[in-house]
Amino acid sequence: MRRDPFPRHRRRCGCCPIVPPELLRRIAQNGTKPQREAALATLATDHSLRFARATAQLLGGPARRITLAAAEFMPHRTIFDAGHREALPGKAVRVEGQRAPRDVEVNEAYDGLGATFAFYADVYDRNSIDDAGMPLDASVHYGVRYDNAFWNGRQMVFGDGDGEIFNRFTASLDVIGHELTHGVTADEANLVYLGQAGALNESISDAFGSLVKQYKLGQTAAEADWLIGEGLFTRRVKGVALRSMKAPGTAFDDPVLGKDDQPATMKGYVHTTADNGGVHTNSGIPNHAFYLTAIALGGHAWEVAGRIWYETLRDRRLKANATFRQFAVLTVTTAAQGFGAAEGKAVAAAWQGVGIDASMGSRRLARRGDRGAP
């Protein structure tokens, strides 16, 4: 079996990151008092699973229960009914392990969160949004005929749609994957929701939202539809989805909703102050770069292309205000160092395909020999 190029302890913890948790545990047990305190503080700060297990062995009581729950890699879902009000979270109507009530939105949200949790756990060894077993909360039936879904920093929120333009927002698995991934991005890189960093934030949610769906369906990159929000539009709308990663700008063209205005390349970059600098518009560019990468590398997109993007998101060199090019350079470096020169070239070619030259910066980063690992 191929050695994992991205060891799990490669985390952003800034306190004592290069010391393995096993060693920290021994220090916490046998070191001097200051050493014990420092080791415990580090174990408490880093929430990665290995650290959680090590901490669990040292602590009793509630902390032990919490960390063991995290170590079990089990989802902890709670679905709330907002009762068509715009107040959160609403009334809890289904918690983990409970039987399905007669409410389509509640059960779709529950199942979608479960599928997304399973994707991150199985593929990237990630235990929920914060990699420490964070409970997955979602509210459905939010507002009256509410045409949106969002992540509010603590939970996911889904509207029922107006029935005229939009169906219910729980109907599409990639929507649920998209919203949960906003939580992952906030936990790892905290990309600001503005301009290019905001468009990257959106694109990462689209990419992993699509991968959650592909993983569930067992599709290869070539088999996948690469659509975001397929099934959200009612039959009255002339369109197949909200966005297309394969062909940005082609998802809909409707007399009421207008034409899909996502650019596929930097030539079409939209300079605007609306929507936080066009975060849902310019995300078409990194979306398409991810698609081109996945197609070039072939196979199941979550295995290599997705892994490169995931590790880039976790890379401490990814700044909160990153530009497309800075992100692109990191993906090329991650691909070359984690998988090989061929993969690095494929990723660079994909970015070139959307008008971003990432090869120069990635060579400089590679020469420095800094992988971003703590």
Partner: protein, 108 residues
């Protein structure tokens, strides 16, 4: 003169150019009850004197509503971001969303 409101929806997971384009809601075209309800909500929200909270940081996929209100003697343009804390403003936005959806369906 009756109230005229230009209403648009920016951003959101389902960010669409057709929703962002402001739509005119003219109370003169509405039933007496509908017009009275909107006028009452505009008064309650104190649109012409309201001080909006300072922008902090946007929530992923939350929407921003552009609301231009004209009563013939005063005009105010607002950008209201979700989540909307003020009850009256939240009710007004929900009401305007409903009217905008009906106008779009009618092909306005």
């Amino acid at each position: 003169m009756s109230l005229r409101i230009d209403f648009g929806i920016e951003g959101g997971f389902a960010a669409l150019p057709g929703l962002a384009k402001p739509l005119r809601i003219d109370c003169a075209d509405l039933s007496k009850e509908e017009a009275a309800r909107i006028e009452a909500l505009v008064r309650r929200a104190d649109i012409f004197h309201l001080r909006l909270p300072a922008h902090v940081a946007s929530i992923p996929d939350a929407r921003t509503y552009t609301i231009g209100v004209d009563d013939g003697s005063q005009h105010r343009m607002l950008r209201v971001e979700e989540p909307i804390a003020d009850d009256a403003m939240r009710e007004l936005v929900a009401e305007l969303r409903g009217h905008a959806a009906r106008l779009r369906r009618a092909g306005t």
